[in-house]
Point group: C2
Chain length 127, copies 2
DNA sequence: TTAGTATATTCTAATACAGATATATACAGA
DNA sequence: TCTGTATATATCTGTATTAGAATATACTAA
């Protein structure tokens, strides 16, 4: 992947947070929206951007559009997310978002109807 | 430093290459121009951009403007450059630029008049 | 002072992007 | 078919960025 493109994906904090989240597994728009506390339009647009750049893919499941980070993950993507997670004093939202994600996934185990299969599966894979 | 800003600095390949080079030591515009094989205006503008973003500083020495990467280097900057250097099959220009830089510095040892002191010193420091 | 070298600025036009608002589509269930 | 939920698209506005060309500045040396 072209380097300029890659960094363009990361140079918006919302997108950066989305990438961080998707690296843990697929998520649908509404849950990204919930975690990022952003409007639907904004989240959807950023996802379109990431899709246009070839970083993510979308997959419909019923009402939901499930987005996932394309594999294999680019080494630089991994390096950046890992490095950012380490700098949690300066950029706490990375870790915080992952916690919010965990809570949502936990909620799913109680009410599976709230969540697309794909997301649930990626949750189960994690153990 | 704000993350968005940092990645904006990196999302242009010329700027990325400049950062890679400056991480090794200060350089003046004309030598960056030579290594990147770009027009003076473009190189100068990218340097202004990086300066505006707070990533580099400029220092005049005679005819030359010497640019250096502000310290301390941001951990994410270091992580990205290191990771990019490792991926030399995909992004060979990083390593190539460093070789060109070495050649220029070697040229300076033969003709010191061609080079500002600051650059020469950073060259000597390296061994 | 003049010429030459190194660098920066200004102008214009093109493009990309972000935010807001409104509207449209896709699907599920009654 | 109607309703609600989830998601996407369109439009407009403002701002940021980029490129190229021309010009200006800063300094050196003669």
């Amino acid at each position: 992947m072209e380097l300029g493109k890659l960094y363009k994906c990361l140079c918006d904090v919302q997108r950066l947070r989305i990438v961080n989240l998707l690296m843990q597994g697929a998520l649908c728009v509404c849950h990204l929206q919930e975690i990022l506390d952003e409007s639907q339009v904004k989240v959807s647009k950023q996802l379109q951007y990431l899709k246009k750049m070839g970083l993510v893919s979308a997959q419909r499941e019923g009402m939901w559009m499930v987005y996932s980070l394309n594999k294999p993950f680019h080494p630089l993507l991994v390096a950046n997310i890992q490095a950012s997670l380490v700098l949690r004093d300066e950029y706490p939202f990375f870790a915080e978002d992952l916690i919010k994600r965990e809570l949502i996934l936990k909620r799913f185990t109680e009410n599976r109807a709230e969540c697309p299969k794909v997301v649930y599966q990626s949750c189960e894979n994690k153990g």
